[in-house]
Symmetry: C2
Subunit: 555 residues, 2 copies
């Protein structure tokens, strides 16, 4: 079972397969946006390639074009003005279904090889995609390059590796020989074919248009399905570039490019028709609970892999590195202005304060010191802009204003507005930090997406742990953290997170942050609490996307 | 990662793991009800053990007992009069949840070892369970022993093997070391725990109370979940014996026996409360579409693994072994009076007839010859009773009467009533065979569970294949067959079944039958057509039943 493209990229696949088994460190695609890695001209060429899209029609040669969409808005205030084809969803689905038969015949090796080639080609476009991600999402440059490029590609590769592991486990054929005592055995030849479930729809989000799209895209594609990508209306370009590259690689390899298409629906009704279409058998979604729940309730013909809202939280009991803890938290709360599904929102601190290497700190001191740590960390404008990026959505601006008004809790640190000298129209806000009591559940117990966090006063550490567990179990979370110098606290928190089914980061004071999740090693979401019903990545993320169809006969 | 019971049964697990990878022939549990295999006294002891249950309370020491149930009715007309505890579902769920923590701490090796021990103990009880299955379902003795005992145990083991493969792939811990150029690497220790999703409910059917229960039971159990078994009201005893054995093995190994319980609900409302309970995270169901669809629509808190109704069908184009084909079909239609989810219901034959090794046979001749083959096959009473068994449900009797009346099609062969000398009150009916036109879709295009089959006249072979594909895609099927001497017909049928996602048996004329599915080799259902959304067994059957919860810290 092989294919020239599989052999070409065999080392990459083997690296991924090895690492999903060991969960140690590995990356297929270099995260440094360096000319030494990507080539002398890569940065300039990538920028040029990005700029070449602006103000033009983005041709994709898809069927069913009905008009053109041009509604993207850059958080950096840059005019994008790219026009994308609006295609009839029925035409895209029909064309995808038609393309599936050839894709299935390519076999597991062929499909995997083509997926690996696509990833390599996307990797070579990392600078172009990074600019597209940065300008559509408001991410800072480094994050846009890393999360939008190589880290997203790593997550895509992770899906391909899981898909390979499961599909390659199914033997192509078997000789079945059942003994019959003294009589000759019953002998049958059996054939087993891996067949994709149907058309997949991947619904992108406005903040991570590749990182949250590639896992579902490659999981569906590698397992034999057609894929329609429905990007967020404000972050189309990264998806469009991705789709164009995929279609080119498919065509080069004799596969009907309509296997993968970009669907920019004309309106909400068209989106609803797309996702409820009987041929659509899987939907990957990242975004808010309202539409997510609508998908789960209405798309009964499909399996929905959903990453929804959650309330990530941290329990602070004690620390032997107070300053480093505050610095670590300040970075976490600032990174991309808190517009990550993994950003901590609720920080539980006992009313009596905490023991630290700098002596006991009262609850109020912890609040003040964390607020001050944010202000210090963001004091240099070049650091602030690189880390904060820009605010992606007007809704987030509204939430910041509401938090700043003090209606949700005592304002420890107000959000401030910064001017970005490189992008004068960019909308930049520093984090707002609030303090409230554990009983103010209406304030902190729902996701307030953006740079809004609460220091929540709890009776003691034990009640903080109990509260954290309940919060995760009822509202969901992707990340939970704990700071403690006491093993029994860490053990209690470990047990709580096992029950609530959420990943735990313990005493992060260095260069790793609770909101970071490394492909191949960190499971992103567990699929076991309300924040997500699936995980990047595990066997469950791929195993239901295909079936095995057998045939048998006597020989 | 090991455990004494895992080591004890290592060869069994290895055999299963090897065979799910090769899909060749293997069985862990001997299918011959022979004293040489099971011990000199096993047949007598098993019968005695079965009889010891009759007319008594079946004590299980479960919490929340509210009353006793005694509604079983034997298709053989034997008085069973066993009394089962009716337990409050809330008490069973709460006790199951409580037991889960210890079960999780047993780890993958411990859980797998205990599951293997349970299967070995159930295997030793095969005679006892066979009598219980026979008397509650109406199966013939040989089928009750094989399908109810070793074959069901094989299917349970298959689930354990898949669960082991997926869970053991998750490393317990990892050292993550990320290079930082000239700086020291970032180093983290990570721990990964496999955690069950929650309580599983397994809803048994009246015809195969172990074969269709063990896959979900062992898949849920091996992956760390508590399990509540809700048997069919008319086939409780096989489930009750199973639950008692499991609870004994759990207790012997220091696990709270309430991890697995038997729930005989007092009424329909209690069943609905059980399956919609928020703690219930997975439901395995085999049975009719009405309740199955109700479960899918209403148990939104759980993943539902459903095997529903279908219309299994066969396309006959031509054959070089006419008599052997008819004999093979006669056995298939007669086995357990067609009360199998895999029994063929629609047999498509071209209007112009078929070419055979005995010359051309007209459509009418094929009908007549198949009817005659049934009559000949069932001519000897001892063969007839051994193969037919008894009719399990009054509904099936009604369906037979309706088919016999001729309202569904021309009666080629009427059902006849047989007297079973060993069981004078047994309800025994031979198969009814009808003929109809392809356009009579209302007759043959819905499941008519029981010994009722249609020879359906199609325009030609091509339209028969098209019809088969549409039938599977719209109404579902677990099995499809084709008889043809022409490769292009077999190829067309192969393509049709790949599209409709159903298993195909080609030219079965010997000792294998389309309605048989061998554990470890044959996938039972694909999960890709309306007859079932899951498969015995594949990775998808186990992968969603657990999550991985990680924790990480710097070292």
């Amino acid at each position: 079972m092989t294919h020239p493209l599989l052999e070409k990229h065999r080392a990459t696949l083997d690296g991924a397969l090895h690492t999903i088994a060991t969960r140690s460190y590995w990356s297929a695609y270099n995260e440094m946006p360096s000319p030494k890695v990507y080539g002398e001209n890569a940065p300039a060429d990538g920028k040029k390639a990005f700029e070449a899209h602006l103000g033009k029609r983005f041709e994709l040669d898809q069927p069913g074009v009905r008009g053109w969409y041009e509604g993207e808005h850059s958080p950096y205030g840059v005019d994008l003005n790219v026009h994308y084809p609006i295609c009839d969803h029925e035409a895209l689905i029909a064309a995808g279904q038609k393309a599936m038969e050839g894709w299935q015949q390519a076999g597991v090796a062929g499909r995997t090889g083509v997926c690996l080639e696509i990833l390599a080609r996307l990797n070579a476009q990392s600078f172009e995609i990074a600019h597209a991600v940065m300008m559509t999402t408001g991410q800072g440059w480094m994050m846009a390059f890393q999360a939008g490029g190589p880290h997203a590609q790593d997550r895509g590769l992770e899906s391909v590796a899981y898909a390979w592991r499961e599909q390659s486990f199914v033997p192509g054929e078997a000789l079945w020989e059942k003994p019959q005592g003294k009589n000759p055995p019953l002998v049958m030849k059996k054939h087993f074919e891996v067949v994709g479930q149907g058309v997949g729809v991947v619904i992108g989000c406005g903040t991570f248009p590749t990182w949250n799209t590639y896992p579902g895209l490659f999981a569906a594609l590698a397992t034999g399905n057609a894929v329609v990508i429905k990007p967020n209306n404000s972050a189309v370009l990264p998806a469009a570039i991705t789709v164009r590259t995929i279609r080119a690689v498919l065509a080069e390899n004799g596969v009907d490019p309509n296997l993968v298409s970009l669907c920019v629906p004309g309106d909400r009704a068209a989106t609803q028709k797309l996702v409820t279409h009987p041929a659509v058998r899987m939907i990957d979604y990242t975004g808010g609970n309202t539409f997510g729940q609508w998908l789960i309730d209405n798309c009964r013909q499909a399996r929905v892999y959903a990453e929804l809202a959650g309330v990530n939280n941290i329990v602070i009991d004690s620390t032997d590195a107070y300053k480093a803890m505050l610095r670590n938290l300040a970075f976490t709360l600032s990174l991309y202005s808190g517009q990550m599904c993994t950003t901590s929102q609720a920080i539980f601190v006992p009313a009596a304060g905490i023991d630290t290497d700098e002596g006991h700190k009262s609850f109020d001191e912890v609040c003040t010191d964390l607020g001050q740590a944010l202000t210090s960390f963001l004091a240099k404008p070049e650091v602030a802009h690189a880390v904060l990026g820009a605010v992606q959505s007007p809704d987030t601006l509204k939430r910041i204003a509401m938090a700043d008004s003090g209606t949700l809790g005592h304002v420890v640190r107000s959000s401030t507005q910064l001017e970005n000298p490189d992008f004068p129209k960019a909308i930049v806000r520093t984090p707002v930090l609030l303090a409230c009591d554990a009983s103010d559940e209406h304030s902190y117990m729902e996701e307030r997406f953006g740079p809004i966090s609460f220091v929540v006063k709890t009776a003691d550490t034990a009640s903080a742990i109990t509260l954290s567990e309940r919060l995760v179990a009822t509202h969901g979370a992707l990340t939970v953290g704990v700071y403690s110098t006491r093993q029994n606290v860490i053990d209690a928190m470990t047990r709580a997170t096992l029950r609530a089914k959420v990943a735990l980061s313990i005493n992060l004071t260095g260069g790793v942050f609770v909101n970071q999740s490394a492909a191949f090693s960190d499971y992103h979401a567990t699929g076991g609490n309300p924040a997500a019903n699936a995980c990047y990545s595990d066997a469950a993320f791929v195993a239901n996307r295909f079936v095995v169809v057998q045939r048998r006969y006597h020989v």
